[in-house]
C-alpha cells in the first residue's frame, strides 16, 4: 500500500507554492510518474494509457467540432456537412472524432480483456476494476448520444429504438422515456439534451479516470505473473521505462488509427447515416455501432416471456427481460471479484481458466456477428446460445473453476520468475 509522500521541490518558487498549495505532492501521489512499477509488464499493459490518450483525442476534436455544429433538427445534418466541406480541416477533425470513438472502444475492450485474463479485478484491486466499469458505462452512454448528433437516419432510428427500451421498465418506464425525449417522440428537445450530455459526460469520464489511476497507484499495478511485489528488485520506476514503452505502443496504435482515418474513414460507419433523418421512413435494418453489437445481440436474444406455467400470466415480458439481460451483462462484471474466488490471479497459471477465457472471447465475437444480422433464421438461436454462454461463464464456470481447478505452481518472485517447487 502506497504511503502519502510530501513533495519537496528543489526549485524555490515551486517550494514556495507547494507550502501554500501542495499540488505537486497531490499529482505525485495520485499519478506519480516515478511510481515503482512491476518490471515485467507486457504489451497488453499498454492499452490503459492508450485509452487515456484516445479520451484526450476525443475531447480535443470534440470541442472543435462543437464550435461548428448546430444542435437543431433542421440544421444538424447541414452543419456536419458544412464541417466536412467548408470548415478548414473540418473533414480531418470529424473523421478523427468518428473513428476515434471506435479506436477508444478498441483500446478499452482490449484493456478489459487483459484485466479478465490476468485477474486484475482480484483483491486488492476490486475498486480499481469497478471504477473502470463505471468509465465503460459512461463511454457507452456518451458514444450513443454522440452518434445521434449528426441527425442521419441511423442517428434518429438508433435513438428511437434504444430510448424506447426504457418503456419496458414497469410503472416508471414511460415517464423515463418522456424525460429522455423531452416530449413524445425523438425530436429537437431530444437532440438538444443529448448534445448537452454528450459534451458533459467526457469530463465526468476524465474525473473517474483520475480516480481509476489513483486506485491503481494505491493498490499497485498488477502484472502478468499475478503475484505480489516482494522486494524493490521486482520493480522499476515508471519513468522512463514505461513512458517509452507506452509511447512506442501509442505510435503503433496511432498508425493503425491513421490508416482508418485517412484511407477508410467510413468503413466503421453505416451508409444510412449519410441520409438525413426522416421520421417517416424506417431504414431496412437498424444496426448500432459495432462496439454495441454484442450487447444488442443479448438484448434481442430474449424473445420469450417468463410467466406462470400452464397459465397466461406473464410475470416478466420478453422486452423487459431483454433489457434486464443487456444491463445485467455489464452489471455481472461488477461482481466478478467475488464470483471468481480462485487464489491465483493470472491466467498463466490457470490451465482450465485459460481455455474458458478464450471461449468467452469467441462468444463475444459471435455475439458481435449476431448483433449485426437481422433477427431471422438461425441467428436468434445462436444469439440465445451466445447469451446463455456469456452468463454461464461468469455465474457458473468461474465459481466452479475456483473450486476444482488445479492451478500451476507460482514463481518465486517477479525478479526471479522460477518456480518455487525447484527448491
Amino acid at each position: 500500500m502506497a504511503e502519502w509522500i510530501d513533495a519537496k521541490p528543489k526549485n524555490k518558487a515551486a517550494a514556495w507554492l507547494e507550502e501554500r498549495l501542495p499540488v505537486i505532492g497531490l499529482v505525485n501521489n495520485v499519478v506519480g510518474v516515478d511510481t515503482p512499477t512491476p518490471r515485467n509488464l507486457n504489451y497488453w499493459w499498454n492499452f490503459g494509457s492508450l485509452a487515456g490518450l484516445m479520451l484526450v483525442v476525443q475531447i480535443i476534436s470534440g470541442i472543435v467540432l462543437a464550435m461548428h455544429y448546430t444542435p437543431n433538427t433542421l440544421m444538424a445534418f447541414d452543419s456536419v456537412e458544412r464541417i466536412m466541406r467548408d470548415v478548414n480541416y473540418g473533414w480531418l477533425i470529424r473523421y478523427m472524432h468518428a473513428n476515434g470513438a471506435s479506436f477508444f472502444f478498441i483500446a478499452v475492450y482490449i484493456h478489459i480483456l487483459r484485466g479478465l485474463y490476468y485477474g486484475s479485478y482480484k483483491a486488492p484491486r476490486e475498486v480499481l476494476w469497478m471504477l473502470g466499469l463505471v468509465i465503460f458505462l459512461l463511454m457507452m452512454a456518451t458514444a450513443f448520444m454522440g452518434y445521434v448528433l449528426p441527425w442521419g437516419q441511423m442517428s434518429f432510428w438508433g435513438a428511437t429504438v434504444i430510448t424506447n427500451l426504457f418503456s419496458a421498465i414497469p410503472v416508471v418506464g414511460d415517464s423515463i422515456v418522456t424525460l429522455l425525449w423531452g416530449g413524445f417522440s425523438v425530436d429537437n428537445p431530444t437532440l438538444n439534451r443529448f448534445f448537452s450530455l454528450h459534451y458533459l459526460l467526457p469530463f465526468v469520464i476524465a474525473g473517474v479516470v483520475i480516480l481509476h489511476i489513483w486506485a491503481k497507484k494505491v493498490s499497485d499495478s498488477g502484472n502478468p505473473l499475478g503475484i505480489d511485489v516482494k522486494s524493490s528488485a521486482d520493480q522499476i520506476p515508471f519513468h522512463p521505462f514505461y513512458t517509452v514503452k507506452d509511447a512506442f505502443g501509442a505510435a503503433v496504435f496511432f498508425a493503425i488509427f491513421a490508416t482508418f482515418l485517412f484511407y477508410m474513414p467510413n468503413a466503421l460507419g453505416h451508409p444510412d447515416n449519410y441520409i438525413p433523418a426522416d421520421p417517416l421512413v424506417t431504414p431496412g435494418s437498424i444496426v448500432p455501432e459495432w462496439y454495441f453489437l454484442p450487447f444488442y445481440a443479448i438484448l434481442r436474444s430474449i424473445t420469450f416471456d417468463i410467466g406462470i406455467p400452464f397459465t397466461d400470466v406473464v410475470i416478466i415480458p420478453a422486452k423487459l427481460l431483454g433489457v434486464i439481460a443487456m444491463f445485467a451483462a455489464i452489471l455481472v462484471l461488477f461482481f466478478l471479484p467475488w464470483l471468481d474466488r480462485s487464489k491465483v490471479r493470472s491466467g498463466k497459471f490457470r490451465p482450465m481458466f485459460r481455455w474458458f477465457f478464450w471461449f468467452l472471447v469467441i462468444d463475444m465475437v459471435v455475439l458481435t456477428i449476431v448483433g449485426g444480422k437481422k433477427p431471422e433464421g438461425i441467428w436468434p438461436v445462436i444469439g440465445l446460445i451466445g447469451t446463455a454462454y456469456y452468463f454461464a461463464h461468469f455465474l457458473v464456470v468461474l465459481p466452479l473453476l475456483a473450486k476444482f481447478e488445479k492451478t500451476l505452481p507460482l514463481p518465486e518472485s517477479i525478479a526471479n520468475p522460477v518456480v518455487k517447487a525447484a527448491e
Partner: protein, 264 residues
C-alpha cells in the same frame, strides 16, 4: 500461450472478415458489379476529365429531377473549370433570395457561392412529377449506399426487361440492383443523350462511369487532400515507431540485465 493467442486472433479475424463481407451483400438486390475507380486505394485521385464529363451529364440529365444541395457552383473550380465559365453556368439558374420591399420572394440569377438549385420548389412537387417518388438529393449519394460507386454504376447501367414472373407496377421500371427491383426513375441514360465536349463517345457505360466519378467527387470533395495528408502522417508515424523502438531497446537494456534501480 503466444501460439494459442495468435491462433485465436486469426480465427476471430476471419470471423469478423466474413461478417463484414456478408453484411455488404445484405438485402434481396443483386450484388453490384465491381468496377475499377481512380479514387480507390491509398494514392487514389479523381479522374478530372471523367468528372468533367460527369458534370456535363449531371447538368444536362440528372438535374432535371435531382438536387445537389451541398454542391456550390464555385466547387467546380476544383474540377478544373475557369471562374468566368462557372459564373456563366451559375447565371443560367434563378435562385430565390429573400424578399423584396413588398414582401414577395425575390429571384435573382445564380452566383458561384449558390448551391446547385433543386428543380422542384418542394418535395411534394417533386413527388407529384415523379409518380409519387421523391428523387433524392445526390450530394452524398455515393456515400449513402453500401459499396456506393459500384452500386451507382450498376444501377444506372442495370435496367433490363423484368423476368417473366415479375410484374413491375405502372410507372416503375425494373432494375435488379435496386432493392425490391421496381424503381420510379425511368432509365436516365440513353446512348447519345449528350454530346461530350471532349469528343468521347457517349455510350451508356461511359456516361454512367463519368457521372459516378462526378458524384463521388461531390460526396467526398476532400478525398485527395485526405490521401495526401494520410501519406505524410503515416510516414511520420513510421519514423516515430522506429525511433521509439530503438530508444526503448536502449533504455530497457539495464532492466533486461536485471539491474535493481532501488539498491542504495
Amino acid at each position: 500461450m503466444t501460439m494459442k493467442l495468435a491462433k485465436t486472433i486469426a480465427i476471430a479475424l476471419t470471423a469478423v472478415a466474413g461478417f463484414a463481407g456478408t453484411a455488404m451483400g445484405a438485402g434481396a438486390a443483386k450484388h453490384p458489379m465491381q468496377m475499377e475507380w481512380s479514387f480507390e486505394g491509398p494514392t487514389g485521385t479523381y479522374d478530372l476529365a471523367s468528372a468533367q464529363r460527369g458534370w456535363q451529364i449531371y447538368k444536362n440529365v440528372c438535374s432535371a429531377c435531382h438536387s445537389l444541395k451541398y454542391f456550390r457552383f464555385r466547387n467546380l473550380a476544383e474540377l478544373g473549370y475557369e471562374e468566368d465559365m462557372i459564373k456563366a453556368w451559375a447565371a443560367e439558374y434563378t435562385v430565390v433570395d429573400g424578399v423584396d420591399d413588398a414582401g414577395d420572394p425575390k429571384e435573382r440569377n445564380g452566383l458561384p457561392q449558390d448551391a446547385f438549385p433543386s428543380p422542384f420548389p418542394n418535395p411534394e412537387a417533386a413527388a407529384a412529377s415523379n409518380g409519387g417518388a421523391v428523387p433524392p438529393d445526390l450530394s452524398l449519394i455515393a456515400k449513402a449506399r453500401h459499396d456506393g460507386p459500384n452500386y451507382l454504376y450498376s444501377l444506372l447501367t442495370g435496367y433490363e426487361d423484368a423476368p417473366a414472373d415479375h410484374e413491375a407496377p405502372a410507372g416503375k421500371s425494373y432494375n435488379p440492383y435496386f432493392p425490391g427491383g421496381n424503381i420510379s426513375m425511368a432509365p436516365p441514360l440513353m446512348e447519345g443523350i449528350v454530346e461530350y465536349e471532349d469528343g468521347t463517345a457517349a455510350t451508356e457505360e461511359q456516361m454512367a462511369k463519368d457521372v459516378v466519378n462526378f458524384l463521388m467527387y461531390v460526396a467526398e470533395p476532400k478525398l485527395e487532400a485526405r490521401h495526401h495528408m494520410g501519406l505524410n502522417v503515416l510516414l511520420y508515424l513510421l519514423v516515430l515507431v522506429v525511433v521509439l523502438y530503438f530508444s526503448m531497446k536502449k533504455i530497457w537494456k539495464p532492466v533486461k540485465e536485471g539491474k535493481n534501480f532501488y539498491k542504495k
